[in-house]
């Protein structure tokens, strides 16, 4: 057996005996990915109950109710009649209803007068999405009424007598001149677990950097490295053996997480070959970073400090901590400076397009460039850490 392999095998055995490695590499990412996916399952299926207080009972109120109950909103909104503003307010405050709409008495009649009565939406500070949707629906409903009022006002401001403008409008039966048409967008939707599965796997994979770098310096302080070098071994083999254990551990951890999230939580990692190559590139990047940390640090404490910066810096920038797509565009660009940011983009594209190798070509190339640069720096700096 090659000495590097022997060293790696010994390190892997040692880490498996330490239960914290299993917690960090397998249990923690699975638990946290599952929690995130459970939490956002609610957000993935927005459905809101809107309480409606109808004190008007006229045709305009009926129009609003039928807009709320239209087939297009069937999956989004359930309408529940409320007796009074008080009961509606209590329902919204208690969270039984996401929001409520109050149609005031005399609303239908007021629509044709100079000062129409307003519709009131009751919202809850804790449910801004429901507030936003409810007010959008109400606004779309009143848009035609307001457009007609605006038409008369504009014509009369332009010189037409108000009375004849109103009469002309009555005859014209105008309808809003812009309509939307659904366009196909040819992709699958991104499930939360399909993002957080890979994201958490990578986040905890990054911790391998701290673990391995730390264990290298612990062994050096114990004199193990010196003893290894007394044997007919080249320093590079020793370093290679140490980081090879990080590589093996990373591959095993990613594979287990991919398998469990796919079969237990329904995550979509996409085309297995493409996802496998992407994961391989990512583990290589982590391995190279580990070697660089060993090369830069002088002591165990320094290794811990530098790797903490590396781990949290990469995780924060790359989007392992927050869903990178919801961040401002500048953050999304910064994410593409990190290998994990590219890997996450690759996994997202695999899951949503259903594509294969062609989709991950660019992410893999970017990760390999990072790996190459870091590995070159490490191979220059690291032998220094090995020589006694």
């Amino acid at each position: 057996m090659h000495p590097a392999l022997a060293i790696a095998a010994k390190d892997v055995r040692q880490r498996l005996r330490d239960r914290s490695a299993i917690v960090l590499g397998i249990v923690a990412p699975l638990v946290i990915a599952a929690l995130m996916s459970l939490a956002f399952r609610g957000a993935e299926t927005i459905h809101l109950t809107v309480g409606v207080v109808n004190s008007d009972h006229g045709s305009a109120a009926a129009g609003l109710l039928s807009a709320l109950r239209s087939p297009g909103l069937k999956d989004l909104v359930t309408v529940v009649p409320e007796q009074s503003e008080g009961s509606a307010s209590a329902a919204v405050h208690a969270g039984h209803a996401g929001a409520a709409i109050i149609i005031p008495s005399g609303f239908t009649n007021s629509v044709s007068r100079s000062r129409p009565l307003p519709l009131t939406t009751l919202t809850n500070v804790n449910n801004t999405v429901a507030a936003q949707i409810t007010s959008s629906i109400a606004q779309s409903f009143v848009a035609q009424v307001n457009a007609d009022r605006l038409s008369v006002a504009t014509a009369s401001a332009a010189g037409e007598p108000t009375g004849s403008a109103a009469a002309a409008l009555d005859k014209a039966h105008l309808s809003l001149p812009i309509q939307t048409v659904q366009r196909a967008f040819g992709a699958k939707r991104l499930k939360t677990i399909s993002y957080y599965g890979p994201s958490m796997a990578i986040f905890f994979l990054l911790f391998t950097i701290s673990f391995t770098a730390r264990s290298f310096f612990v062994e050096r302080d114990q004199g193990n490295i010196e003893r290894m070098l007394a044997a007919p071994l080249r320093p590079r083999s020793v370093l290679f053996g140490k980081v090879l254990s990080a590589f093996v551990f990373g591959i095993v951890s990613l594979s287990i997480i991919a398998a469990v999230t796919t079969f237990a939580f329904g995550a979509d990692w996409g085309n297995p070959l493409a996802a496998g190559l992407l994961s391989l590139a990512m583990v290589l990047a982590v391995t190279a970073t580990t070697a660089l940390v060993i090369g830069v640090a002088h002591t165990q404490r320094q290794a811990e400090g530098i790797s903490s910066f590396a781990v949290f810096g990469l995780a924060l920038l790359g989007g392992n901590f927050v869903f990178v797509s919801v961040t401002p565009p500048i953050m999304q660009r910064l994410a593409l400076l990190t290998p994990n940011g590219w890997a996450l983009r690759g996994y997202t594209d695999l899951a949503t397009t259903g594509g294969g190798l062609a989709i991950v070509g660019l992410p893999i190339a970017a990760i390999l460039i990072y790996t190459l640069v870091v590995a070159t720096a490490a191979s220059v700096l690291a032998p220094r850490a090995l020589t006694p």
């Binding site: 609610g42 927005i46 129409p116 009143v142 001149p177 040819g186 901590f321």
Partner: protein
Amino acid sequence: MRILAIMSVSIRRVLRDRLSLFFVVILPILVILIVGASVRGFSTFRVGVVGGNLGASDRQLTSMLASTPGIDMRQFATVGDLQSAVRRSSVEAGIVLPKDMDRAIRGHGTVTVGLVAEMSNPSQQAAATAVQSVLARYAGQVQAARFASQQVGVDFGSSMTLAGHLATSVPGVAIVSRQAGSQLATLPEGFSYSAPTMLVLFVFLNSLAGSAVIIANRRLGMYERMLAGPVRSGVVIAGEALSFVAIALAQAGLIIAIGSIAFGVSWGDPIAATVLVGTWALVGAGAGMLAGTLFSTPEQATAVGPAVGIALAMLGGCMWPLSIVGPTMRTVGHFTPQAWAVDAWTRLRYQRGTISSIAPQLLVLGGFAAGLLALATWRLRRRLT
């Protein structure tokens, strides 16, 4: 006096370690920055627009979209870019304006705007609803301008400008939004949301990580040596507990100071906030000391501690508001002390709460603190004697 001596030794050991300063000071600030910059996703819809030929009407519509509260508009060069952004959830919905939009708007027919959203996805459906209401508002102005120029014979451009001005002054049917049961209209976004929840997260996380000190003390035989002197085990435990509380208070104070100075975060009623921070420091101290008796190596503390801390923070609503999760997860979340602390901050800051209005939360947190500290004391005392 002996309690203070033991406390100050533990504190000095933490302060000398530059690595722990990274976790106490730098990391929380970085996370507040990043989470603060991205948390607006919870109440704002991100909408993409592919412009037509960038004529007057495109500009009017895009500026209307951009100025609508609750819509964060981003422009894309091609339909392909927009589709990728929707696919990656970078934007929740997008619209594609027709190439000859200007001409179509001036004409007589209906203008068709493409909508890119997957309608089986409720959050995209919700964003689409928001966009459609803006489009309807714009369409109202177009209808008015067309009608006026047809009636009076003025050109479309000037009647469109007229309609735009009148839209703000002609009384239409208004939508008045009112809060059910609290005074503030909207949940603050960005830093203001993330700072208090990150305080809850990091004070707890840091206390758990601090358990490594207790483990190291146990392994070094520090406690045995202390007990060889005229020191009772209760004094040692109290000293350790005080050092946890002091570090937690210092970290919380730092986050509060940076939050208010750098990000303009308001922390609510000062007395209530102080009591809440104090109670939370006790909860953290109890959890950290208990962890110190449960783990056997510092490696376990640094590996398992953060994972447990982050998981509890997620359950308890530190990473996202619990209002966006289902009722089951919300109930499960309230088994963690984090959820009660976040609830208390929410009351304090968004509903102008006082110490009496957060009394229930303080009581529950006090219970957590007492329980954790009692358990930790019992376990530590067993190990000491």
